[in-house]
Amino acid sequence: MKKLCMILPLALILCFIVGCQDKGAMAELEQFKVKAEVEEQNKEIIRRWIEEVNKENFEQLFNELWAEDCIQYMNSNPEPIDNEQYNQMIEHFYSNFPATTHEIHNIIAKEDKVIAMFTARTTHDVDSYGVPATGKELAWRAIVIFQISDGKIQTRWEVADILSMYKQLGMELKPKESEK
């Protein structure tokens, strides 16, 4: 009788464990794991892009991480820019702020999207957007949403606080000439 008392609960537990591990649930768990893994990989791609990119390695890193037919929406402009326009933009940017670095504060991955909040920092050590060098440290915040397909960045939406960047350069908002 005592032995039966030992075996019965054990059998119950076994049934319970086997019951929990039904195949449907296992498959779902497996899918979930794969999804989580892809999300982690996508995060790493974006972390590399944002934190490692600089004036020197830009071209090489861009070719490595971005899809050839990628599309970018910059600063809530409804019209996307293509690679050629983007390259011109970057060249222009680095000629004004050669020493820019980026620090990620928060990164969220969900399915094929990665959302990153970061701060861009630079030293105003060359003439920037027509303003002579001051040596001042500048910082502004931005958010970027990336869509990644098969390990390559396909689409990017970015909103950067460029008004704050210009203001730190000493520029001021004035009513337009025609409207004075």
């Binding site: 008392c5 537990i13 809530s76 915040r141 909103v159 210009y166 009513p175």
Partner: protein, 176 residues
């Protein structure tokens, strides 16, 4: 002894059940929708009493274009009142919501007519329309941290402003 033998498996079973029900801090899509609906009532209709339902008392808001962070419901309330004074017909629509763990990401469109003063600037009478993204961290069903991103320059340009280069005092003197 027999009783003990009965209790042990029960305890194990209980432990197992608790392990399965791992306490999740994540927010559900439904909870996110409720928070968004309330946020729209607060911003679009000025229903400010709802603020205490959706935000923790020590909530922090990191806003573009404002240097200090807004901390606490009262600071956020003042900020919303100022916004609604500047744009009384303010209408925010939500384009997309992404929920992940304890974070929500809202993509929105902001439309309004500037018929009241905006910060220190007088009313321009102009209409604005711009897009932005808000990220919200939720703990125990309440918003604890909010990051707001939009192109402030775009908004100011729509209001009729433009960026002017700095005027260092030396050059002004030279001109004289």
């Amino acid at each position: 002894m027999k009783k003990l033998l009965m209790i042990i498996p029960l305890v194990i079973l209980l432990c197992f059940t608790f392990c399965c029900q791992q306490v999740e801090e994540a927010i559900t899509e439904e909870q996110a929708k409720v928070l968004v609906d309330r946020a729209l009532k607060i911003w679009n209709e000025g229903n400010l009493e709802l603020l205490e339902d959706v935000m923790a008392s020590d909530v922090e808001r990191h806003e573009y274009g404002i240097l200090e962070e807004l901390v606490g419901i009262d600071a956020i309330k003042t900020y919303i009142i100022n916004n609604r004074n500047a744009f009384p017909d303010l209408n925010i629509t939500i384009d997309k919501i992404i929920v992940k763990d304890d974070m929500m990401v809202w993509f929105w469109t902001y439309m309004g007519t500037n018929t009241g003063p905006l910060w220190e600037l007088p009313a321009t009478g102009k209409k604005v329309k711009f897009h932005g993204v808000t990220i919200v961290r939720v703990v125990n069903g309440k918003e604890v941290e909010i990051w707001d991103f939009y192109n402030t320059l775009d908004m100011m340009e729509q209001l009729g402003f433009t960026l002017a280069p700095p005027q260092p005092p030396e050059t002004q003197e030279e001109k004289k």
